[in-house]
């Protein structure tokens, strides 16, 4: 049992970070504004969670200019997708073992 719990990634304990990764698993590039709307969080909150995922190498950032406005989009990296899948597997195993 113990080693299953350690497979749960600490980084994904936050609801917001889980949400960010969920969006990036099924969409190629997601814009900051769209992410904010889907997750219903504040700018600052979202930005700090994204930067911690970015530091871990799970998320990559792309900035483009639409007219004069900068537009920031995010995508999950290969490592990020793997880590998230492992986390989900661990969650599922935990649920199964309990029943």
């Amino acid at each position: 049992m113990k080693n299953i719990i350690t497979q749960l990634n600490k980084l994904f304990e936050s609801r917001v970070r889980l949400g960010i990764m969920s969006l990036l698993m099924v969409n190629d590039w997601v814009e900051f504004k769209r992410m904010k709307e889907m997750l219903e969080v504040s700018d600052g909150n979202l930005a700090s969670h994204i930067s911690s995922l970015e530091k871990a190498g799970f998320v990559e950032v792309r900035k483009v200019f639409v007219g004069k406005k900068p537009q920031t989009s995010y995508a999950a990296t290969k490592e990020g997708k793997k880590a998230f899948n492992d986390h989900l597997d661990a969650l599922e195993t935990l649920l199964k073992n309990r029943d």
């Binding site: 609801r15 889980l18 969920s22 969006l23 099924v26 889907m38 989900l88 969650l91 599922e92 649920l95």
Partner: protein
């Protein structure tokens, strides 16, 4: 809340986010029912104009050369099809907006755009293809062709909305192929494909998602 419950809730939240962010889920079953009723009415009006029985074999393009209701064959054909298309689209937008509002979803978001673009490309190709068929005088092929291209469009756009739309697409394609074989029954197959199938799928989707 126990850890167990917490994990379960986390998983269902993840699933819902994935679904909502990649698929347009506000599509209303009622818009299918409305579109079906409108299409059936359009087909019946066409049968009355042509003075034909839907269930008999016909070669529509030789039936009527003169005018009726002050319109020649082609004017009537485009007015009838145009009115059906506009009313069906309006009903679709109305019921879908209503459903989106009820569940607090946005009607215009990246998923709606993806769905529409993927619908529009095969549909546009089909429309142009039909105009070319008419240009060459192959009128009998128009009804089956609209069914096949509409089915392909639904199959393609269905990737970005409720899965039922893909099954509707496959059904339309099969019906279109059958209609291509039984060429003289174009209007009947058209009424089944755009009328009856929309109503049946619309009701099924309404029962499944909207209630």
């Amino acid at each position: 809340m126990s850890k167990h419950q917490e994990h379960l809730e986390t998983l269902s939240e993840i699933r819902s986010l994935m679904e909502r962010s990649s698929r347009f889920i506000s599509l209303s079953g009622l818009s299918g029912v409305a579109a079906g009723v409108i299409a059936l009415a359009g087909a019946i009006v066409a049968a009355i104009y042509l003075e034909v029985n839907l269930f008999e074999e016909h070669h529509y393009y030789v039936i009527r050369q003169g005018e009726k209701w002050g319109m020649d064959y082609w004017t009537f054909f485009f007015v009838d099809a145009g009115v059906v298309l506009i009313l069906a689209l309006a009903a679709g937008i109305y019921f879908t907006t209503k459903k989106a509002r009820k569940s607090g979803q946005k009607i215009w978001d990246p998923t709606a755009r993806l769905m529409l673009i993927n619908l529009a490309i095969p549909l546009g190709a089909g429309g142009i293809f039909c105009l070319i068929l008419i240009h060459h005088g192959w009128f009998g092929l128009v009804a089956p062709t609209t069914l096949i291209f509409y089915g392909l469009a639904l199959l393609n756009g269905g990737k970005y909305t409720l899965n039922d739309i893909r099954f509707l697409g496959i059904t339309e394609i099969i019906l279109g192929l059958i209609a291509t074989y039984y060429l003289g029954y174009g209007l009947l197959f058209w009424a089944i494909g755009f009328g009856v199938l929309h109503i049946v799928y619309g009701i099924a989707m309404y029962m499944k998602y909207d209630r």
